[in-house]
Symmetry: C2
Subunit: 325 residues, 2 copies
C-alpha cells in the first residue's frame, strides 16, 4: 500500500478533470460536465484504485478504468432520475429538469460511450477480461433498475426479491470496481473473487443504510427532507419488512398511506414512520445492515495480504457505513 | 468472395436469432426482442460481412460484430424515436408508444450494452482496434443526433452543417461497418480506409435518398404518408436548399408554412412540396445524391481486389440507392 485515501482521492479527481470531454456540440456535452462536476463521493473509482493499490498494483494503470466506472455510475443516475421523475440530484436540479428529458437521454447515452472509452484504456492483455466484467455490470445495473421500477406497482415483493434487486442495481458496481482493481494488480483468482464478494456485501449494506437514512436520517445533516422513498411508494427493505411484521390495524394504515398518492405528504410520512418505529424497524434495519457489513469483513479477512494493506479499504467502508448523509 | 448476398443475409438473420436475449426481467427484454424482430434491412451487418468476405476473411469471425452493429443501430432508433416523438417504426408502434418512455429508455440502455457484448467477441488481437472504431462511431452518432435536434430550432443551418450532421448521424455507422469487416479480414490499411470512405459517401447518398423519399416517394410503395419531415419541421437538404434558391415570395411562403406548427398538415405539405417542385429540387436532390454515390464508387474503384469480389457490395448499394421505400 503506497498511498493514503486522500492522495488517491486527489488522483481520482485529477483524472476526472482530465477526462477531455469535447466542447461541441455543447448542448450534448455541457450536461455531461454539469453531471460529472456535481460532486459525489467517488466511491466506485476509489474502490478500484484502493483495490489495485492494496494488491501491490500500479495505480496509474487502473486510473482510467476507475474514472470509467464513475462516468458509468453518473450515466445511470442521469437516466434513473428521468425514470424516477427525481427533480434533484446532490442538491441541484437533475439534468432532465435543468434542461429537458431529451437532453438527459442523449447526454446520458454519450456518457455511457465515454465510460467505455475509459475502459478501453485497460492494459492490452487484460482488456477482454476487464471489459467483460464491466459489460456484465452494465447489464445487471439495467436489470436492477427494471426490477426497482417493477416493484413500484407489484404487490408481492419479498425480502429476497428486494435484496436481489439492490444487489443488481447497487452492489455489483462496487463489487466489480474492486474486482477490476484486483485484476489490474494481477491478484490471484481467489483474491479477485474475495474482493468482488466483499464489494457485493458492502454494496447491500450501503443501500440498506441509504434506505434507513431516507426515513430516519437527521434532516440537518442529511441535507434534504426525509421520507422521499415513502412519498414515491418505493418498496424498500423497511417497507417490505413492515408489511411482514405489522398487525391487522397497522397493515390497514400502511395500505391506506401507500395506496393514496394524493395523501398530504407530511401526514403520509408521519403515519408510515410511526408504524416503522412501533415495529422497531429502525433497529432491525441497522441489524440487517450490520449483517451484510460483517459478511463483507469476513471476505476481507480471507484476503491474504498484510493487515495494514487493508487499512484504506477498511477506512473508506467505515466512513461510508457511518455516514449521516 | 465465397457467398451470395442472400446466403449472407440468411447467416446474419440466423446470428440475430441466436443472440440469446435473456428472459427476465421480461419488462426489460421483451421490448428488445420486439425491436430487433421488427424487420429492418440489416444493411449494417450485411456491410460488415460483405466487406470481410470480399477481402477474403473468415466471415464467422465478423458475424457477432455484424450483429452488434445492428443491435446498436436499433438502440439508436429506440432512443431517437422518443426524442423525435415518432409514434411508428417500420409500420408498428415505436417502443415508447407500445410501452412507455421509461421502458424505451431502459430497454435502449440494455440494448446498448448487448451491442458491446457482441463487439467483445472480436478476435483477441483485434479487440482494441474494433472496439475503438465502434466506440468512436457511437460517440459520433450521439453528436449527429444532437446536431439534428439543434437544427430543429436553428435559423442558419447551412448545407455544410447539414452534410456534417448526416455524416455523423447516418454515414459513420455503415462506414465503420465496412471498416470493421475489412479489419477482421486482415485487409491492408489503405483498403480499410477506402472501405470506410466508400461507406461514408454511400451513407450520405443513402440519407439524401431518405429525405427525397419522405417528400417525393410514392405513398403506395413508400408504405407510409409522405411529408413527415415537413410536418416535423426537420431541416433536411431539401429544406436548406429551398431557402437558398427561393425568391422573396417563395421564402415568405416557406417561412409561413414552417413557422406554423398548427397549420393544417395536408396544406403545409402541399405548399412546401409545390415550392420544392417549382425550384426543381427533386432533380437537384437526385443530382446531389448521385454525386455522393459516384464518390463512393470512386473509392470502391481504388480497392485493389478482383472486380467480381466487389459484386456483392455493388449489388447491395445499387438496391439501396434505387429503393422506393
Amino acid at each position: 500500500m503506497s498511498y493514503t485515501i486522500d492522495q488517491l482521492l486527489k488522483k481520482v479527481d485529477a483524472q476526472m478533470n482530465s477526462l477531455g470531454i469535447p466542447d461541441e456540440p455543447k448542448e450534448l456535452y455541457q450536461p455531461v460536465e454539469y453531471c460529472l462536476k456535481n460532486g459525489g463521493k467517488r466511491v466506485r473509482p476509489l474502490m478500484a484504485v484502493i483495490s489495485c493499490d492494496m494488491f501491490g498494483g500500479n495505480i496509474d494503470k487502473v486510473m482510467p478504468l476507475a474514472v470509467g466506472l464513475e462516468v458509468f455510475h453518473n450515466f445511470t443516475l442521469m437516466h434513473d432520475d428521468i425514470m424516477d421523475q427525481a427533480p434533484m440530484r446532490r442538491g441541484k436540479p437533475a439534468v432532465h429538469k435543468k434542461w429537458n428529458i431529451n437532453t438527459a437521454i442523449l447526454s446520458g447515452d454519450v456518457m455511457f460511450a465515454l465510460a467505455y472509452q475509459c475502459m478501453l484504456k485497460a492494459p492490452q492483455k487484460l482488456l477482454k477480461r476487464v471489459l467483460e466484467a464491466f459489460n456484465e455490470t452494465v447489464i445487471q445495473v439495467c436489470e436492477g433498475q427494471q426490477y426497482d421500477m417493477n416493484f413500484e406497482t407489484a404487490d408481492n415483493v419479498t425480502e429476497a426479491d428486494y435484496i436481489n434487486m439492490i444487489r443488481l442495481k447497487t452492489a455489483v458496481l462496487p463489487a466489480n470496481s474492486l474486482k477490476i482493481g484486483a485484476i489490474v494488480a494481477g491478484a490471484p483468482e481467489n483474491e479477485i473473487l474475495n474482493s468482488y464478494l466483499f464489494g457485493e456485501s458492502f454494496g447491500l449494506a450501503f443501500q440498506l443504510k441509504d434506505d434507513w437514512l431516507d426515513v430516519f436520517g437527521d434532516e440537518e445533516v442529511f441535507g434534504k427532507k426525509t421520507g422521499g422513498d415513502i412519498i414515491a411508494n418505493k418498496k424498500t427493505w423497511l417497507y417490505i419488512k413492515a408489511f411482514e411484521l405489522a398487525n391487522d390495524n397497522q397493515q390497514r394504515k400502511l395500505k391506506d398511506a401507500f395506496s393514496d398518492r394524493m395523501h398530504h405528504p407530511e401526514e403520509k410520512i408521519n403515519t408510515v414512520k410511526n408504524i416503522y418505529l412501533q415495529l422497531g424497524l429502525s433497529e432491525l434495519a441497522v441489524e440487517q445492515m450490520e449483517k451484510y457489513y460483517q459478511k463483507a469483513f469476513d471476505y476481507l479477512e480471507k484476503i491474504k495480504i498484510p493487515e495494514e494493506s487493508k487499512s484504506n479499504l477498511t477506512q473508506l467502508i467505515n466512513k461510508l457505513i457511518e455516514r449521516k448523509s
